[in-house]
């Protein structure tokens, strides 16, 4: 009997121990997760207390109406420590870097605007570029900024290219020499005239010589010294694990005062719900739910320019049938781009032009053959090229999700003119690799940058080497190649524009690829929080440029 009693007591004790163990385990998890918040060695949080004093009156010249700092909260996620070498190449990380560091030249709605370079001159022959730098600029640590920092950045970037940098200013084949004239001006001697030189001045963020000199592994500079720039904002919080950033105004900034005092980036699960919930103050809203916001006065809407688009690429090497211009033209007549806009983009897009440059490009040619959908013309063109209905068949390489639906619609369009299409859907990375290797017949791809300088046409249709990451395998047009190579040497803007117009005419006739559509739609923001948002001329996101956050 006593034995049974003992056994029961033991069992009870064991049950209590097991219960305690489970509870202990849960508490341990909570403690571990709690501790991990402050475990990031890269986090300059220790400094945050010092810079957090944003309500201080004298530190607050930009906001006269109210003492309350303007705090804008945006959709975040981890895109790397925001210095030029540790930001991620995918995602909007480099735009955060640009809030902390400055470039020589910035962009606004219409074009290039002076920034760290208050002015610049190009010699008539296009071979000498003189930069005049802003004076009274200081780094976030108080050190004055001079031409030495620019010279240093150029040399350092040549030795260690920053993430995503592919500019020409560090290329010996392009730049002959860089000389400092005085503390606030320098001369860059070029080997050849290059019409798009201003774009090159936006390619680099200037880093402080006094900090980076001697740093041999730029990816290791992840302490607070790594984010000392001359830009309008300072990083006061970064948490890689949670994907949060906090940037606060640097009130000794040399340029326009900050209209937003604090920018916070937080991860969100669904942008629509997060905006409604007040978790974030701006979001790209799908056209189907825009009504929920457009009727509410607290929200403002901004139209997005059509500079992010999809194109259908053709591989003339894999499918020699596509060497015949009539076949390519037939595809352009067969694919109803407006139908894609209506059904896939739900109306929130602009159909592409066969001149390649999109309608929102500053040098868009408005008077080209519109290739209005016409099955009969397409069939006639195919017949003139010697193909009967049903004779041609292509494999269409697409990405996933929306692109598959787009592919299905294109298949319907092409089947209506007697071209069979087999859709091959792969993930984005696989598609990119196959496009770059030329391992496809026809392929769908979507990306931004369509409103950049028209020189990108040269990369696509007259690539220097057999690099198919952007080019059209097997496509050759002697006149076009020569003209594309000529336009970049024309320093007179009007003359160059005429050349680009002629190039668009030739492209629209030749149809080496088919731009499908360019996303437009709306960005919705909380009007009561901040309403100074703007687009720069070549980008679709209002939060990706620093002018959006400044008083101008």
């Amino acid at each position: 009997m006593q034995f049974i009693k003992k056994k029961r007591v033991l069992q009870q004790q064991m049950r209590v121990t097991a219960g305690l163990a489970v509870m202990g385990l849960m508490v341990m998890m909570l403690i571990l997760t709690g501790c991990s918040n402050s475990a990031s060695p890269a986090t300059p949080q220790a400094e945050s207390d010092r810079v957090m004093e944003v309500t201080d009156e004298e530190n607050h010249p930009g906001d006269e109406a109210s003492d309350e700092p303007v705090v804008v909260r945006l959709s975040g996620g981890d895109y790397g420590y925001p210095q030029p070498y540790t930001t991620h190449s995918r995602g909007p990380g480099r735009y955060k870097v640009n809030l902390i560091f400055d470039r020589l030249v910035e962009k606004d709605e219409n074009g290039f605007v002076p920034w760290l370079a208050r002015d610049w001159e190009i010699s008539e022959d296009g071979l000498l570029l003189t930069l005049y730098l802003q004076e009274n600029v200081i780094w976030h640590d108080g050190t004055p900024f001079t031409a030495d920092d620019v010279l240093f950045t150029l040399a350092y970037s040549k030795a260690f290219p920053p993430v995503g940098y592919g500019g020409l200013l560090t290329d010996d084949a392009f730049v002959e020499d860089v000389r400092k004239v005085d503390d606030h001006s320098l001369e860059i001697y070029l080997r050849e005239a290059y019409a798009n030189y201003t774009e090159e001045l936006t390619a680099l963020q200037i880093i402080p010589r006094h900090i980076w000199e001697g740093v041999t592994d730029p990816e290791s500079l992840t302490g607070s010294e790594g984010v000392i720039g001359t830009g309008p904002y300072q990083l006061t919080h970064y948490d890689a694990e949670h994907g949060t950033y906090r940037l606060e105004a640097f009130y000794d900034f040399w340029g326009p005062s900050q209209a937003v005092d604090v920018i916070e980036f937080v991860p969100v699960s669904d942008e629509v719900l997060a905006l409604e919930n007040g978790d974030i103050h701006l979001a790209s809203i799908p056209v189907d739910v825009i009504q929920r916001f457009s009727d509410e006065s607290v929200y403002g809407l901004i139209d997005v320019p059509g500079v992010w688009g999809y194109r259908l690429r053709m591989n003339l090497q894999q499918r020699p049938e596509l060497q015949q211009r009539e076949v390519r033209q037939a595809l352009a007549y067969a694919i109803d781009r407006q139908d894609l806009v209506d059904k896939i983009a739900r109306g929130a897009a602009l159909p592409g032009s066969m001149g390649i440059l999109p309608p929102d490009h500053r040098w868009y040619h408005p008077n080209l053959n519109p290739y209005a959908p016409d099955a009969e013309t397409a069939k006639a063109l195919l017949a003139s090229a010697g193909y009967e209905p049903g004779e041609l068949s292509f494999t269409l390489l697409t990405g996933q999700n929306q692109e598959v639906r787009m592919g299905e619609l294109i298949r319907e369009h092409l089947e209506a003119v007697g071209i069979t299409v087999v859709i091959q859907s792969v993930d984005s990375n696989t598609r990119d690799q196959r496009l770059a290797e030329g391992a496809y017949e026809i392929g769908l791809t979507g990306h931004g940058g369509w409103a950049r300088d028209a020189d990108y046409l040269r990369d696509r249709f007259a690539p220097a080497a057999f690099d198919w990451s952007d080019g059209v395998p097997g496509y050759e047009n002697e006149w076009l190649t020569a003209e594309l190579n000529r336009q970049i040497t024309i320093m007179d803007e009007q003359e160059r524009k005429a050349s680009i117009m002629a190039i668009q005419e030739a492209l629209a006739e030749d149809v080496p690829e088919i731009p499908l559509y360019f996303n437009t739609g709306s960005t919705v923001y909380r009007r009561d929080i901040y309403d100074g948002w703007m687009h720069i001329f070549d980008h679709h996101e209002v939060t990706h440029n620093k002018l959006s956050f400044l008083n101008r």
């Binding site: 995918r90 592919g166 496009l435």
Partner: protein, 334 residues
């Protein structure tokens, strides 16, 4: 543990670790080639020279066999490598995120265990009455719904609709906690929906197992004997029936520890929870080999240990197996 088993396990480990190295590299796609994205995505397109520079920088231009050598040497030293998409040491990234995944998986396991066992026992006790049929059909359906759908439903109803729980993340961002309890409360509140998502999808399996196992046990002779002794119903159910019905559950739970990791990937992505699941999906998108290897390693080790634990636990809780095992050790029955 016999020698054969140890060798078998080491061999499994070697195969898994080798697959772990090979699989990310077998995936088509280049880590430094970004040319396209989903609608509106932003990315940097590298030139061929830039991509070559990075391949060289991260040692991806070396022969595979050398990379494999580095991989093993790194693991022996406890170094999981350096993530070239995130530009951080992989082990550091994993260690910071692992507790979050463990928190929601442990929570979900406990929740599904408690709910599944209670409801399963109740259902079995109800016999063939309508309550049992209702629960049975209900759980059959629930257990087939993918975790991300359950997560989305909870997100829309309980977070966005009722505003009871936060929409995403694991804590309130930029919050300075006044005390430890406030911090734990905040973390707990953020963990509720991911735990519910994972827990709900797992409860069905446990419910069905307990219900079926208990119904079988209830037909056994010793239950009839116990009934004949005039034992109270509660004692009969808990001490005689449920205890015996729980044996297969122990294995099931241990095995589930592994599969829970898979569910966590989906649940974390729905709630942007900063665990290994979100990390893995980003590593796949970026084709970040060292990070993928690291995450896979932790997950496979988790599954393997869960299986070994199940094996061991089963021997401990089932007296018949224990006896057989002891006899085998002595060289008796084969």
């Amino acid at each position: 543990m016999d020698k054969r088993k140890t060798v078998g396990r080491l061999l499994t480990l070697w195969v898994i670790l080798t697959l772990n190295f090979a699989l990310p590299r077998l995936m088509p796609g280049d880590p430094f080639l970004h040319m396209s994205g989903e609608s509106g995505d932003v990315f940097t397109t590298y030139t061929r020279e830039q991509a070559d520079y990075y391949r060289h920088y991260y040692g991806l231009d070396e022969p595979l066999i050398r990379q494999y050598g580095h991989y093993w040497w790194g693991m022996i030293k406890g170094d999981l490598g350096y993530s070239y998409a995130f530009k951080q040491p992989v082990s550091e990234m994993i260690l910071r995120r692992l507790p979050w995944t463990l928190l929601i998986t442990t929570g979900a396991l406990l929740l599904s265990l408690a709910a599944g066992t209670l409801l399963g026992a109740w259902s079995a006790w109800k016999g063939s009455r309508w309550q049992d049929s209702l629960f049975y059909t209900g759980f059959m359906v629930i257990s087939e719904i993918p975790a991300f759908l359950v997560g989305l439903a909870l997100l829309v109803t309980l977070a966005a609709g009722k505003n009871w729980f936060p929409l995403s993340g694991a804590k309130t961002h930029f919050m300075v906690y006044e005390n430890w309890w406030q911090q734990m409360g905040d973390i707990g509140r953020h963990a509720v929906l991911p735990i519910l998502t994972l827990g709900l999808t797992r409860t069905g399996g446990i419910y069905l197992l307990v219900r079926n196992s208990l119904r079988t046990v209830l037909t056994k002779d010793y239950i009839r004997t116990a009934k004949a002794k005039g034992l109270r119903h509660r004692i009969l159910m808990v001490h005689h029936a449920l205890r015996n019905a729980m044996i297969p559950l122990v294995t099931r739970v241990a095995m589930q520890l592994g599969t829970l990791m898979g569910g966590a990937v989906l649940a974390e992505n729905v709630f942007q929870y900063p665990g290994l699941g979100t990390l893995m999906s980003r590593a796949v998108t970026a084709r970040d080999f060292p990070l993928l290897q690291g995450v896979f390693l932790v997950m496979t080790l988790g599954v393997l240990s869960a299986n070994w634990l199940a094996d061991w636990l089963y021997q401990q809780v089932d007296p018949r197996l224990k006896k057989n095992h002891a006899r085998r050790q002595k060289g008796g029955v084969s």
